[in-house]
Symmetry: D2
Subunit: 367 residues, 4 copies
């Protein structure tokens, strides 16, 4: 409440009605002391989705709906209850799952929001991105930057599933950059060699001599799992992060920075028995467990996970990861809005200073 | 509607209930064809606020409320009805008006959202930003970057009013970076010379030899009107934009880029009789008419304005400006989220190709 | 000498003759221990030129030679005896003096090397740079970037003299980028308003809204003394460097960096009675004393100077400056190759840690 | 000759003597019309060194001299007769050959100039760079950035030879940044895992999550041939340059730019029967033929080459390459100063527009 010179709240209320009539409001009645804490805190809760549920629902969706002119995509949205009205995994990023069945085509279209695909299961699907056919195998990362045509087609003998993570909550939902265009035909034809951009940039730190421009959007559209896995195995022999264990960010070969200005991608291997120290940051993340099993503690709540699961991390939530196997590695892929915050000078990070770097666990998710 | 393999919509509805129970949703039922157009379009309407109303309301607010521990700031919010639930001038930027009366102190605090102040009326107030006292005169631009302490104090003989434009809708409302801290005392004391940062960077394109770092946040906190006015008058002799007439963006001296990563500031002089050509862009803007009178046509609607008025421009709305005086210049200050879009590779611009570059006027705002 | 397996130096000599016949050499006979010290050291000596000599010689040159098709420019070269074979003030930068007499024209030409001009004396000359007429007054800095046409014309009633500092020793002499072209006519005509680039960028930290590109070469061609002097006077109230006192680097408004990628420009005001602390760096400099008198100590040698004098600083020489007047300021302009070294990650600096930050003076230059 | 007002050359000569006494010179007597052409031209000639000669001389050097405290390195300098006094392959880059014999140690030292090594023959040597052991195999590229300790040791059963290309002519010879330091012991011990920096950055476009800084100096010290060869083979299926055929620049993973600010490295595969079109640029290059045979035409002169040979390209010389085999690929590694010129806005390129893009051959080198 304001220090009023008038002794009547009535006069204030009359004033509020009058200014509202002119599409104004009074700042002092909107912010109450304590609205915004001085210490950072997660604005909403983390969430976890069970991989078995996803597979079951997707099998059912395979019977109920098919990609095409109407449905476009057979996609399940992971809708964090704390993120409203957006219905997405975090406030800036979606974490969805898509499936194409043998012989299906998800028609080519383009939109202002950008996406990454991380292949979960199945081999034999292809995404055509602005004329470049990109083959998809489990563990591969495929980029479909904003306003690039992309369609999917499966010649597989089995269902192919992947994680779709888009910047739609930010770009369409918040920034209101919302355009969409269907490709004139069902599937954009291939006009470039298969995997051309990986060929140009992917076989090491090289730049084709005639490619002189740097771009905030990675020209390399495929980051294949064979390479990612080898990189993790090799890095494990050398060094690791106390917070993320053996962990990489995928990079844009023309800048060394994030693959997209709106979506960062990371891959981490929690080695058998490793329990990382906790930290937090202003960036959020959508995690997909690609291999192994373990748990994460997020703001004091334990989230058990195994291969196929997803979980989402809100900004500023303390988090640490543990691999509960003593023999198998756990591999976790994630998308993050860290590139956005970094571009706006809003990226901050803080180490957890409690005993041993570990939070006290107060409950388990789902209990 | 999806192409369903099942012949019953009932099965689909059962499916939707089941996945919702597990915090999932189906993408195909959320997006209908035509949700997002292929051509860009303004996602909400422009709006106009009358300067006389603002002054009248502010005079009343001066009687009803005073800055201090409870009210913090005597600020009127310009609340575009098309921007909900944010209650702000555009979806990413607020356009507010603040007043301090003679002898008043608006206590020092800091928050993660950044602000700019453009002084509308009154001389004799001072803003202290992280220990640097910045004097405020009509037409001056003053920056208070995110998480910098800032308090205002007036030694003026008259009310001092300024435009407050903050990135709060983006930073707090969307990105959820929300921290706030009151300064321990009422007013942070001055620990630096008056206008020190303007002294270091403002007197031309020079860099103090011991200031070697570049930052996305301008170290220069004051852009005084005397300088801005001279710059406009000089530029008018040389060149102008077909869309904005004689127009500058204020720059960060360490980068040549925008003053803040989240807020760009521009000043334009529409010369007597000039009517600019229309264009549109993915960035929005909050305009304040500092001097003169004229009108803007935004998506076919005519908005008449005069000194003291505000109007807001949504993304992708066609807009053109006209000075209706044949003798007096019109000066318009604006804030824009163009730096945000540029950092994310989302900034686009398009020229209006209709006859003469002018839109057909279909109505006038307020009719 | 190498550890030879052979017991005869004769075999080695025969070997050397044989490889020389095939345009090869042996590295081990070129580098002797101690060729290159582990501590940095100045590779050649500093030097000082008397302003009175320069004026006297220039008056004589005014009688002996005139600018035109043959002589092109009436320019005296300051030829540091330690810099051979380049004949220039430092190994990377020339420090020359040019004079135009009333009515004279120094014809328009262009070359790959870039230049800056700092006006020493006389008012009423104009340099036309790629069609933009730039007026020259004492204390002004004028840029003529590489491969821009530039010609000088004087409508003054008095001789006009200025410092010419070029990157020719680096660009032409070392990097061998040597092209030169005479303008078809004697003087390139003015095609832009007088001082257009200063109008666009010079009146504060503003960017014309339609100028969106950043360039390593400053688009602002004039930095007028009226502005520089005010900037120095203002900065003096706020802060200063222990090594350079009140000192600025002129900046490129589109980047905040140096005005040219090959030449940095600085201006410093040594206040009455101030004696700076010593430091050294890998960059060299050519100094011109614009006002006042005092001395510098460079690697232990005292160089007394007064207005009109020049002196050159080699890389890694310790240096400190003193104003011997108790009432008048000393103003020193300088060019430096620091931008080149910085671009190549070779710029280093070191503070002198001796007593009081001052070197012991072992001799005076010229004794 | 100048247009003299005096009728006597004698007066001028007296003047010249007088100003020389004061360490000045007259610009107008130094530049004669035509000194510098308006069209770019090579400032010195290209040159070619025979690989068989190099092997023969190196075998002899193996008998005559050994690395150690005195000789430091068994290195043959390729001394282009057109580059004087520098005695190097081009004016900015050296192109040398080093050999270590089984069991030898080339002691650890560091210097301000940076180097790259391209392994020509022999397997089993290791370079230790600031504590990181880097294994060397034929075709590998190894970086030893400026002021990093580096020593070589061979556990091979055969001689190991590599190309040494340093920026010494630029950094030490021109810019005079000349420091040198012997490591206290003979060989700096390994303090990091073997190939640690390749492990961190080399297995694809990934960044260890805890490595947040970008640097102009690549942190990746090894670019192994196995990877380079695969990249070339893959690229060959997709695209090629008309001037360089299948060609990459090695990149710095933290920036996407050159591996060192002073030395760019390229690898090109001229496919069987390919004859590239000619172009020229302001950058120079030192070429080493790693595999195959063919010829290059440089400014009209034909240079035949085969595996083991070297040749150097001066700035602005027209050049084109031909593989004379119809079955075998030719692989050419090169170093270039293009990064230096690019950093200074001096990098230019021009396509040869003559018939078919090929120069007329006027002679053969060595005839």
């Amino acid at each position: 409440m304001a220090q009023t010179r008038s002794d009547t709240a009535e006069a204030l209320e009359a004033f509020y009605r009058e200014i509202e009539d002119q599409s104004m409001d009074a700042l002092w009645r909107r912010h109450q002391q304590g609205d915004r804490p001085s210490d950072p805190a997660a604005p909403y809760g983390p969430y976890h989705w069970n991989g078995a549920d996803i597979l079951r629902f997707m099998a059912r969706a395979g019977e109920l709906v098919q990609p095409g002119p109407d449905a476009q995509r057979r996609v399940l949205i992971l809708s964090n209850p704390g993120v409203r009205p957006a219905k997405s995994a975090t406030h800036t990023l979606s974490g969805n799952v898509q499936m194409v069945l043998p012989g299906e085509i998800a028609p080519s279209h383009r939109h202002t929001n950008a996406a990454i695909r991380f292949i979960m299961k199945g081999e034999g699907a292809v995404t055509i991105v602005d004329g470049e056919p990109v083959e998809m195998r489990p563990g591969d990362l495929v980029l479909t930057p904003g306003w690039c045509y992309h369609g999917h087609v499966s010649k597989a003998a089995e269902p192919v599933l992947w994680m779709d993570s888009l910047d739609g909550p930010l770009v369409v939902g918040m920034l209101r950059i919302a355009r969409y265009q269907q490709y004139p035909d069902e599937l954009e034809p291939a006009t470039k060699p298969v995997g051309a951009s990986f060929t140009e940039y992917g076989h090491g730190n090289f730049r084709p001599m005639w490619k002189k421009e740097a771009s905030k959007i990675s020209p390399q559209l495929l980051y294949p799992w064979t390479q990612t896995e080898r990189a993790l195995q090799e890095l494990a022999r050398t060094d690791a992060s106390p917070f993320d264990d053996v962990a990489f960010e995928y990079t844009n070969p023309t800048t060394g920075g994030p693959v997209l200005p709106t979506i960062g991608c990371t891959i981490q291997m929690i080695r058998p028995g490793v329990h990382t120290r906790a930290h937090r940051h202003s960036a959020c993340a959508v995690y997909h467990v690609f291999r192994g099993e373990g748990y994460s503690v997020i703001d004091g709540v334990r989230f058990d996970w195994k291969a196929g699961d997803f979980f989402s991390l809100p900004p500023w939530a303390w988090h640490e990861h543990a691999n509960t196997s003593t023999t198998e590695e756990a591999i976790i892929f994630a998308t993050t809005d860290a590139p956005v915050l970094d571009a706006l000078s809003l990226l901050e990070e803080e180490e957890y200073l409690g005993a041993g770097g570990h939070q006290a666990v107060t409950s388990s998710f789902g209990d």
